[in-house]
């Protein structure tokens, strides 16, 4: 029986889709059967981030409305064994799907896959409720700024009250230089405020933009720092105990990362 994980945030643009693409690909690289579901109906993006936009025939709404079988709508990623995408509909809106239908869909996919990752839209309305309805656990993505952390807090409260206990947090786009200058909240500051477990810390990395341009998740790039971090998070999701790096070290986060992974000129 597979596990359904929703990737959510509250605030838009903090990196949910990037996280879904990279963790999904990372889990597939660990020989897991993975399906990614884009629930951002009307504003789909997971397809382009994954580089699969030209292969869409059916979408999520077609599946829940019974126009096709689930199998027909799944796009197989030919580059990575065991990785599939169920794209969102682009010409409909969030109300085209309801939570009950999502629960049923997740139930069906659970039989076949090890992991079902759900890319949640921004906001706390219908799209959010759809995305979380079938999930077993939740990952909340935030950036280290006041508004993203505030919205993450709100989302954590909503997840807790809808039976998704103990959400884990990924702090994205950390800029070690700014942290060292005292102009960006530290990981400890954010964890202190949100009072949830930390799943990973992703540095702000140009390689993310470059890999998104190409439609190849950074997790497959052995020279990308963010990619290395995503590989670690995927392993953590599988239960491996891999320490999270300290941003506040004297030596500097990037240097430490580079040394640890043997990367010379990563950024």
């Amino acid at each position: 029986m597979g596990e359904v994980i929703v990737i959510t945030s509250g605030k838009g643009g903090v990196g949910k889709t990037t996280t879904t693409a990279n963790l999904g690909t990372g889990l597939a690289l660990e020989n897991k059967q993975v399906v990614l579901i884009d629930t951002d109906i009307g504003l789909r993006n997971l397809d382009v981030v994954m580089g699969l936009e030209n292969r869409i025939v059916y979408d999520l709404v077609d599946v829940v409305e019974g126009h096709c079988r689930v199998k027909q709508a799944l796009i197989k990623d030919r580059r990575y064994e065991g990785l599939y995408l169920l794209p969102a509909a682009q010409t409909r809106d969030k109300n085209a799907v309801n939570p009950k239908q999502m629960v049923k869909l997740c139930q069906e996919l659970r039989e076949e896959f090890d992991f079902i990752l759900i890319d949640c839209p921004a906001g706390i309305e219908q799209g959010f409720r759809n995305a979380i309805s079938g999930a077993d656990r939740a990952i909340v993505v935030t950036t280290p700024d006041v508004s993203a952390v505030r919205d993450a807090d709100r989302i954590i409260g909503l997840l807790e009250s809808s039976e998704l206990k103990n959400p884990k947090i990924i702090i994205n786009r950390v800029k070690p230089d700014m942290v060292r200058r005292g102009d960006m909240m530290t990981i400890d500051d954010i964890i202190d405020i949100l009072a949830v477990d930390l799943l990973g810390v992703v540095p702000d990395d140009e390689k993310i933009v470059i890999s998104t341009n190409r439609g190849e998740p950074a997790v497959t790039d052995s020279k990308s720092l963010a990619g290395q971090v995503y590989r670690n998070i995927a392993k953590r999701i599988l239960g491996e105990n891999i320490p999270i790096l300290d941003v506040q070290s004297e030596e500097g986060f990037l240097h430490k990362l580079k040394r640890l992974f043997g990367i010379k000129n990563a950024m």
């Binding site: 505030r150 807090d153 709100r154 103990n166 942290v179 005292g182 530290t186 202190d192």
Partner: protein, 95 residues
């Protein structure tokens, strides 16, 4: 000119991330429990009144906030009212 100078001084003495953290903490009190800062002030006043029967406390340093904490089973998070009340002296009248 003077304002600019003052600004410079205060920015030096306090990093922007500390300001961010402090502001977040305050705004989240309201977001989390749907209680107003005035409501918390009321609770604070009552707590001070009761405790002063038994001990001298440092009223200025008293800190009260609504935060989150793990529940007893460790599988969920519940809101918690946390008060940090520095004690100056315990009165003997209780004995």
């Amino acid at each position: 000119m003077l304002a600019g100078l003052l600004n410079l001084v205060s920015r030096k003495s306090r990093s922007s991330k500390d300001t961010a953290k402090e502001r977040l903490k305050l705004v989240l009190i309201h977001d989390r429990a749907n209680v107003s800062p005035q409501f918390l002030e009321m609770i604070k006043g009552e707590i001070i009144k009761v405790i002063q029967h038994y001990m001298d406390i440092d009223e200025d340093a008293l800190d009260i906030q609504i935060t989150r904490t793990k529940n007893d089973e460790g599988n969920g998070i519940v809101p918690a009212l946390v008060a940090n009340i520095p004690i100056k002296k315990v009165k003997n009248s209780g004995k």
